[in-house]
């Protein structure tokens, strides 16, 4: 049986690490459902990062490495948010990994 995330009564296929298989399956409800499974409620600060990742992916066709994400977030949302500490507070399982999953993107390249 393949793994799935249940969103509004519909099962969407995910890979063995919980990443969405079909990027086009994504909606904000997918992010919310995945976060709920992790016991997390997404705040506007979370969404800021998730939306940033989606825009980054749209532009460059990859999910950024954490170092690149931190730098780019700092540039776009201000230096106080462009820190590893801030991002880890929002996404304790690793900002690039966890936020990318909620954003419906593949795991960042070079992320182990």
């Amino acid at each position: 049986m393949t793994a799935a995330v249940a969103v509004k009564g519909k099962d969407l296929e995910v890979d063995e690490e919980g990443y969405l298989v079909k990027l086009s399956d994504w909606s904000e409800d997918v992010g919310k459902a995945m976060a709920a499974e992790d016991g997390l409620v997404l705040t506007p600060n979370h969404w800021e990062v998730i939306n940033f990742l989606r825009e980054y992916y749209d532009e460059f066709q990859i999910a950024p490495a954490i170092r690149v994400l931190t730098k780019a977030i700092g540039k776009k949302l201000g230096p106080e948010k462009g820190s590893t500490k801030y991002l880890y507070e929002l996404f304790p399982y690793g900002p690039a990994k966890q936020a990318c999953r909620y954003a419906g993107l593949p795991k960042p390249t070079g992320c182990i």
Binding site: E59, F60, Q61, I62, P64, A65, V68, K71, G110
Partner: protein, 135 residues
């Protein structure tokens, strides 16, 4: 072109445990997996803070061509990812002049800013590296 940057810089690299990597891209972007795999290796090496240089020659220059349409090939157009390299601090991109000319291309046809070097200059660049990996 980046000439040999001297003993001081070389010592600093040794202290930081940084090696000079040169990735040589010689194949057309689609049809084989080489170009995409090379790009992934490049991104990973940057995550380890290495000194990374890219060279594009032969059909490899086509990897950087603007306006790629891959829908009919059934492969994802990964060319926008070359524009992300700057954010990974990978800014040393070189393209061989002869390879461009043979394909009727100029630097203006490419997605990202590059330096165009002659075959001879590329040879000199290769000489300065610790590790050269060809795809």
């Amino acid at each position: 072109m980046s000439a040999d940057d001297g003993a001081e810089a070389a010592n600093e690299r040794t202290e930081r445990n940084v090696k000079r990597f040169l990735f040589v891209n010689r194949k057309a972007p689609y049809g084989t997996i080489y170009a995409l795999e090379a790009l992934e290796v490049v991104l990973i090496s940057a995550a380890f803070d290495q000194d990374v240089t890219l060279v594009f020659l032969d059909d490899g220059v086509c990897q950087l061509k603007k306006g790629q349409q891959t829908k009919e090939t059934g492969m994802k157009n990964f060319s926008p990812t070359y524009r992300a390299l700057e954010g990974y601090d990978i800014e040393k991109l070189y393209v061989e002049k002869e390879s461009l000319e043979h394909r009727g291309l100029t630097a203006d046809d490419l997605l990202v800013p590059v330096k165009v070097l002659t075959t001879e200059e590329i040879g000199a660049l290769m000489d300065q590296q610790d590790i050269v990996i060809s795809f």
